[in-house]
């Protein structure tokens, strides 16, 4: 139940390079995108160089092999999530996955369970990433439905005290993040899911920051839709996943229309194939899906519990070290309880852009800004933060390097 970070780092070619004139790469920006192991890079290359053809379409050997590879990847994703194969839809990223659900619901006609009207409401939270906020704002605008939200507490947790007022009999959709990409806060889902299901609403989970970092089983969780991005889970860019319960995917109208998603077509109208094909129009991102399969296999081989455990202990270490820096304000849960390995902070009044630039000069990659969660920044009254986020290839040396660089930044900008 544990692994060697040194061995893991050997699997990732990017750690063979150096940064800013020979410095060791300390990559603390996995919350934005993760690095990729050779097995993933090679899986994509092998698809192109050996089996490339359009899936589901040709009656030739390459097309058969490509289809096997692509559908094999779907089976891997399904197993990883504890889902059925035909519940897995490949998208280009989590943003598309979430837009897919929102637009498809918007396409529902009267009588369809997803059809929304002015008397319905959609519930989100103040800590959503823009990708799980704006699509719902737009859906609300198009349908007249009301957008409501849970607020964030002083202690960076969701305020669920008014759950009965927020999720009501009129609520049709509860769209919620599993883990905040800014605060690191992990959301306790049980009460929210129970309340949503009690009133007949569906729960859409933005699992971008959870699926790569811990074991997530959709059947145990009992959510209704779940979205994540391959590129944050050591997978390729250009591939995301939408999972949905099969009985819901059956009723959900399609989103993108075109080839391979139809049953029959005339000049005037079309009917739809079954899921998942109904939601995968056009020639898919085949090599990327295959790469994502390789990525999830890689993660499974190491073990999601071992990865979660590793990140937890690294977060504990980082919290201890960071909170000792005078002038550092941690934005997010101060303890190592129900939180992931994303640590946002400010230092004195040094602008995060300047902090980021300084630590970059030391070979350390962090992220600065509002992290695509602008409303949260306003709630916290901080226009921007610096965020360090950890993954399986990080260790205590990386934390030490960060702490040293932050002290250096204080000196450089005259704050110590």
């Amino acid at each position: 139940m544990s692994f060697s970070v040194a061995d893991v780092r050997k699997d990732f070619p990017i750690f063979e390079r150096t940064i800013r004139d020979g410095k060791r790469l300390v990559y603390l920006d996995s919350g934005a995108t993760s690095q990729k192991p050779w097995v993933v890079i090679n899986a994509e290359s092998a698809f192109y160089s050996k089996h490339n053809a359009a899936v589901h379409r040709g009656a030739h050997q390459l097309a058969e092999e490509a289809t096997d590879a692509y559908e094999g990847a779907r089976a891997i994703v399904a197993e990883f999530l504890g889902a059925k194969d035909n519940e897995i839809i490949f998208t280009k990223n989590a943003t598309e996955s979430l837009n897919l659900v929102a637009y498809a619901m918007g396409n529902a006609e009267a009588g369809n369970r997803f059809a929304l009207s002015a008397s319905d409401s959609i519930v989100v939270t103040e800590m959503e990433h823009h990708a799980n906020l704006i699509p719902w704002q737009q859906l609300a605008k198009r349908t007249g439905a009301q957008l409501k939200w849970f607020k964030v507490n002083e202690d960076s947790r969701l305020d669920l005290s008014n759950i009965e007022q927020v999720i009501t009999a009129n609520t049709k959709i509860v769209a919620i993040t599993h883990q905040s990409n800014v605060l690191g806060t992990i959301i306790p889902l049980e009460a929210i899911i129970k309340r949503a299901h009690d009133v007949g609403a569906v729960v859409v989970l933005d699992a971008c920051q959870s699926v790569p970092h811990m074991s997530v089983n959709v059947t145990e969780l009992d959510v209704d839709f779940l979205a994540f991005s391959g590129h944050k889970a050591v997978g390729p860019t250009g591939v995301g996943v939408l999972w949905g319960k099969s009985e819901l995917l059956r009723e959900l109208p399609p989103f993108l229309t075109g080839g391979s998603m139809v049953r029959a077509v005339t000049m005037e109208s079309a009917t739809w194939a079954d899921a998942p094909q109904k939601f995968e129009a056009g020639v898919p991102n085949m090599a990327q899906a295959v790469g994502l399969g390789a990525a999830l296999k890689y993660l499974s081989n190491i073990g999601m519990d071992a990865i979660a455990q590793h990140e937890r202990s690294l977060t504990g270490y980082a919290l201890e070290k960071l909170l000792k820096i005078p002038g550092l304000r941690l934005v997010g849960p101060q303890d190592n309880v129900a939180r992931g390995a994303a640590l946002s902070f400010t230092i004195n009044d040094i602008h995060p852009h300047d902090v980021g630039q300084y630590v970059d000069s030391q070979g350390i990659a962090v992220r600065t800004g509002h992290h695509c969660a602008w409303p949260l920044a306003k709630v916290m009254n901080i226009p921007a933060t610096t965020r360090a986020s950890f993954y399986l290839y990080n260790d205590e040396h990386d934390v030490d390097a960060l702490v040293e660089a932050l002290l250096g930044a204080q000196k450089y900008f005259g704050k110590s």
Binding site: A59, A63, E64, T67, V262, R263, A264
Partner: protein, 147 residues
């Protein structure tokens, strides 16, 4: 030659001389199925009397595999009860899902074991199943009505 394991003599025979082709009237159920990936179509009429499948007839267009498959289906299932037919249908579906790992039970499938080779060509499994899926639907319809 691997191709011959797909196009068994029996299959090519049925393709060239399809049985039960041409829709008969007086049916208990009629269904129309399409294979959206290739555009193949089939209409299948099913007549039931006294709990027995007394007639299966069909028309449509499709490849040798789909045409031969429904032709053999007509031979196999005519005269059977629904529960007898179900055994055959299930056995055929299993064979099609086997990816070439089994050769099919000749006791149950008779001539249809010729389709064992098809299961090695994933692109063609849907062709072989087109008529069988249509039959399944027709059986449900006609049983629904007789209740």
């Amino acid at each position: 030659m691997e191709l011959d394991s797909l196009y068994q003599e029996v299959i090519l025979d049925h393709y060239k001389h399809p049985q039960h082709k041409g829709l008969r009237s007086g049916y208990s159920a009629q269904v129309h199925h399409v294979n959206p990936s290739c555009g193949d179509e089939i209409t299948l009429n099913l007549t039931v009397s006294d709990g027995f499948i007394s007639s299966i007839s069909w028309d449509g267009q499709g490849c040798s595999i789909s045409q031969a498959s429904v032709s053999i289906l007509g031979d196999l299932l005519t005269g059977k009860t629904f529960s007898q037919a179900e055994v055959v249908v299930n056995s055929f579906s299993e064979l099609m899902a086997s990816k070439g790992t089994t050769s099919g039970d000749p006791e149950i499938l008779e001539d249809a074991v010729a389709f064992a080779g098809v299961s090695k060509f994933p692109g063609r499994v849907k062709c072989a199943l087109l008529g069988w899926m249509a039959f399944k639907d027709a059986a449900i319809q006609s049983q629904g009505e007789s209740k």
